[in-house]
Symmetry: C3
Subunit: 174 residues, 3 copies
């Protein structure tokens, strides 16, 4: 998907269909970002399928095939638990977050309504003890979406961040 | 608009219309960014309607309903005055700015040609007394566009920035 | 292209064609970014035409019409040499890069399959001797694409970066 574009030229209908699907994924990512930036973590958890898989892992570990991640959720129940815990412990609160998602690439939907996609993300933060915005995390999403009657949902989102070391405070969803 | 996507599936025609409208808003935002990044402030002022409302306000004040902002313009005349003053006093000059606008969400155009939209922005800057680029401001645009014979114009842009304290030098449009 | 949008309203067919072309350019930029971020420099070199022109130049020099650049390649041969040298000397390796490309503006394709376009870019980096992500370079692409049987290729990419001084380590493609 992300190598040198290949030679098969799509028809106009195929190109429009691809553009519509990419627009749908981008709208999803915008809603996803807004849920996290506005600290609506319960809304965030509902963006996954019941078997939704969500991890945050360093690029270094990901490249080496090591499964160790900052956050590891095997299904929506674990994602809801994480959201609930963060909302109750207020660990999430003392900062403002702002997502920028770009460089979105989307493969065609398969017969089962699964869509493989990818994007780059930057999360900026403003901590309450310093005035200016800084970079919280930079990385890429490796996604599998599932089409449902309620629209797209994440069946899998692997957040691969570029930073090397992460302090504890960074154990929040991105 | 930015909550969990709802269940009504649009027809292909509706989806194409939504995509065209979003493309129009994105093209507008790109032209808007370029006017500011290239310090063409007179061009920037022309991107508003005569009754165009433009403010820059902190997320903290915005969330509390306080109207105090860094910049407060109630109509295009005030916006032109601001542009003129900045160009003449050259406060704008000793830095390079670079906008990145993303995570754009657009609601359908209403019968009066009004379009509610939203986007995240990051403005990077290079100050002339230090070599590298830094983050000038991160935030979101809350917009109302008006369709005119000359294309889209801003009837309202509220720039809600995430930073807590802003030094004086930041009183420039974003 | 980037001034106040003009008054000619395109037909729906023209608007769809413009959107498809922009989507094609965006897909190209995403593939281009991924090649550099994943250090696939040979793939990167293949994204240019045989007469592809590639330079990285400061905004200051560009505005003054000075041709002095960090990187100056007059054709694909020179681009391939650069890619080969960087891969062999491993100067590229001790950092992670992450591109974000946005604010894309695309002019209509001409009769020769040439497409003038522009975009803003930010490249984030993680150096291996410090844990967090920083800004490597911010700037804009000024592009001419050529349509080929294999898809779009860059006939010309001028990377105009905003920073004033650049340390030696930054002599890597963006």
């Amino acid at each position: 998907m992300l190598t040198v574009p290949d030679k098969k030229v799509p028809t106009q209908d195929q190109a429009i269909a691809a553009m519509l699907l990419k627009a749908e994924v981008e709208a999803f990512n915008t809603a996803y970002s807004a849920a996290l930036d506005e600290q609506r973590l319960s809304d965030w958890a509902e963006l996954f399928t019941p078997d939704g898989f969500y991890i945050i892992i360093s690029r270094e570990n990901h490249d080496r095939g090591l499964p160790v991640g900052l956050i590891y959720c095997e299904n929506q129940g674990m994602i809801r638990d994480r959201a609930f815990a963060l909302e109750k412990t207020a660990m999430f609160a003392p900062r403002y977050l702002r997502h920028m998602v770009g460089n979105v690439a989307v493969e065609p939907e398969d017969a089962d309504g699964l869509i493989v996609a990818r994007a780059n993300y930057v999360v900026f933060q403003v901590l309450f003890d310093r005035p200016d915005a800084t970079i919280h995390q930079v990385g890429r999403y490796e996604d599998v979406f599932q089409r449902t009657p309620g629209g797209l949902r994440l069946k899998k989102r692997v957040c691969v961040y570029d930073s090397l070391l992460i302090d504890n405070a960074l154990c929040i969803p991105v």
